[in-house]
């Protein structure tokens, strides 16, 4: 099997020749740029600055040579524009606050204040209010809530929260055409983030890509909508789905079944020990819109659909399956009710677990290499039999993760696979 076949088999619950592995194929299965630099050094790859493929979380691009060195199975095609609304193109060097030289887009425009905080601007426009903030001792940006002074919680206008959704631009069409040509013969599985199908992803609500966002842009205000204004969310998500369907049709015309996996939505429904909304609310507000998106994909393409949600989401997995999702990520096994054995037994033949490989809150950053190896092997033994598992850590690998722990993780997967 090549990587593409291996990934397809795993997603479709067939036993692949070996357990496939992903790092770097999406903005939720990635690696912080500081760790990518150390990995390149560990594998003795050409010494050059790491390109930041996602500037919000400061994820580093896992280039072909590193994919090869680690034995990874998935190749991403990233969106044309970053979360800060600028194309990731014509790279320039940038010195991070922790002293690493990285490559960023020429439109990555920042200022640093006299206390060491870094601010980044939407669409690279320094005349607009900054939309991202990296604190002095931080390793990535967080969004800045820019609340429209005319915002009135008693008079919500749907159009205000639809500004960012629209038909695929000519520029994007050209980008996808070029990318589709570039990766046409890839033996790795191809993963892409769909544009506009994230229904209420809290990272996107403050609209860090817009210069002057209107509508409900505060995080707490947004969460309150599901308790207070469910009809507003239903109408908003209906409109989003309508637009997304048209864009998916365009994308399919350009890329066809070159694409294997589409990341549909990163909205988190779980906390460490509970949910962000009740199961009935999820089924009323989200399920019909997710189902519409997934049904279109399954009826018209050979893509497989990927849902990300952190946290203790076991009570929602049946609903994710009813929505038509093929893949669940990041499978936060440390959250309440998310023990691996129970998940595999109850849902393992109906949804593919992409993640769950190691705890990134405890074991990977703070454990020993031996603890990492033991946990990884245990997860492989639980999740891998019969397919339905793509190895990945639980969410992105964060800054300050000891490199020896990362290597112990990769080697444990190879060891499980019987590789050298």
């Amino acid at each position: 099997m090549n990587s593409k076949q291996r990934i397809r088999a795993a997603i479709d619950h067939q036993q692949p020749d070996k357990l496939p592995m992903d790092f770097g194929s999406s903005f939720i299965t990635g690696i912080h740029c500081s760790v990518v630099e150390q990995l390149r050094a560990h594998y003795k790859l050409e010494k050059r600055p790491v390109k930041v493929c996602e500037p919000y979380q400061m994820l580093g691009e896992v280039e072909e040579d590193l994919l090869e060195a680690m034995g990874l199975d998935v190749q991403p095609i990233f969106p044309q524009r970053t979360i800060f609304g600028f194309p990731n193109e014509n790279c320039k060097p940038w010195m991070t606050p922790w002293g690493q030289e990285v490559l960023v887009s020429e439109h990555f425009k920042t200022i640093q204040d006299n206390t060491g905080n870094v601010y980044i601007y939407p669409q690279g426009d320094m005349e607009a209010p900054a939309s991202g903030h990296m604190p002095k001792k931080g390793y990535f940006f967080d969004t800045i809530e820019r609340i429209d002074p005319n915002f009135d919680e008693d008079d919500l206008d749907l159009e205000d929260n639809l500004e960012e959704f629209g038909p695929m631009s000519q520029e994007e069409e050209s980008y996808w055409t070029e990318q589709a040509g570039k990766w046409r013969d890839s033996e790795r599985a191809i993963s892409v983030h769909l544009n506009g199908t994230c229904l209420g992803d809290i990272a996107l609500v403050p609209a860090p890509f817009l210069k002057n966002p209107k509508g409900v842009r505060g995080i707490a205000d947004w969460y309150m909508l599901s308790a207070d204004e469910p009809e507003f969310l239903q109408k908003l998500f209906d409109r989003q789905a309508e637009i997304a369907l048209q864009n998916m049709e365009k994308l399919y015309k350009i890329a066809g079944n070159l694409i294997d996996v589409v990341v549909v939505c990163g909205t988190d429904f779980g906390t460490q020990n509970s949910l962000f909304c009740s199961v009935p609310n999820m089924r009323d507000i989200w399920l019909p819109r997710y189902k519409r998106i997934n049904d279109w994909i399954h009826q018209n393409t050979n893509w497989r659909t990927f849902k990300h949600s952190c946290g203790a989401v076991e009570p929602l997995i049946e609903t994710f399956i009813d929505c038509g999702f093929d893949i669940l990520n990041p499978v936060q096994c440390s959250a309440d009710g998310m023990a691996p054995e129970g998940l595999k037994a109850k849902y393992g033949d109906r949804i593919c677990f992409w993640g769950g490989g190691v705890n990134t809150q405890q074991t990977l950053p703070f454990g020993t290499p031996e603890q990492v190896r033991a946990e990884v092997l245990s997860r492989c033994e639980t999740f891998a039999p019969g397919g339905g598992f793509v190895f990945n850590a639980i969410h992105n690998v964060q800054a300050l993760t000891p490199i020896e722990n990362f290597i112990a993780m990769i080697e444990a997967v190879h060891s499980y696979n019987g590789d050298k």
């Binding site: 905080n117 903030h133 604190p135 002095k136 001792k137 931080g138 390793y139 967080d142 995080i219 707490a220 969460y223 309150m224 909508l225 599901s226 308790a227 207070d228 906390t271 460490q272 020990n273 509970s274 949910l275 962000f276 909304c277 009740s278 990134t360 809150q361 405890q362 950053p365 703070f366 964060q398 800054a399 300050l400």
Partner: protein, 208 residues
């Protein structure tokens, strides 16, 4: 219970901000004791906390309840101050240096206010010196630290160490997604809470 007070408690429980405001106006117009009005608010939030802890309601419902409480407090607070009614205990709270996440910290803050604690919120990205200065200024019973990130857990540790070594005896409680009881114990914090409702119970224990 008086009808407007019952309406107030119910409005908080249901997260109905306009009803909460109307019931408070009614109670104040009827010149009911401000302490009784405050008790109705506390009863409402206490019920919200219990249902949140039992996973019967979730973050959005707690947020709308807290917003309803705030609408009521906007009217009630000046009356409480004029009557000399003050919270018995106070807490300084903040998200640790390097970390800008505040939804968890804000939930804890709302629940503490609902339980009639005085809360001094230092915001996010707060360093050890700022916590120490707030302790010196406000003399709280407890300091509460929040962190969402693994990369800011070391910052939490150094803040706890700084406060414990400052010479001012102060109880410290910690929380946030990657934080555990083991970590709290290891860094010398006096308590850990896994959720916002339990944080109120913990704060009561630390103040006892």
């Amino acid at each position: 219970m008086n009808e407007s007070l019952q309406n107030l408690a119910n409005a908080i429980k249901a997260g109905k901000r306009k009803d909460a405001r109307a019931a408070t106006e009614e109670a104040l117009a009827a010149e009911l004791s401000p302490q009784l009005i405050l008790d109705a608010l506390t009863e409402g939030m206490n019920d919200v906390g219990k249902r949140f802890k039992a996973n019967e309601i979730f973050v959005p419902e707690v947020l709308v309840a807290a917003r309803a409480m705030q609408k009521s407090m906007d009217l009630l607070e000046p009356v409480l101050v004029a009557s000399g009614i003050q919270p018995k205990h106070s807490i300084v709270i903040g998200t640790v240096e390097g970390d800008l996440h505040d939804i968890g910290k804000n939930l804890v803050m709302m629940m503490l206010k609902g339980a009639n604690f005085k809360v001094i919120d230092l915001g996010t990205n707060v360093d050890a010196e700022a916590f120490a200065a707030a302790v010196a200024e406000h003399k709280p019973d407890v300091v509460a630290l929040s962190a969402l990130l693994t990369t800011t857990m070391p910052s939490m540790e150094s803040i706890v160490q700084h406060l414990n070594e400052s010479g001012t005896p102060i109880k410290i409680m910690v929380g946030g997604a990657p934080i555990t009881q083991d970590f709290a114990t290891q860094i010398g914090a006096h308590g850990y809470s896994p959720d916002a409702a339990s944080a109120v119970d913990l704060a009561h224990q630390l103040c006892a």
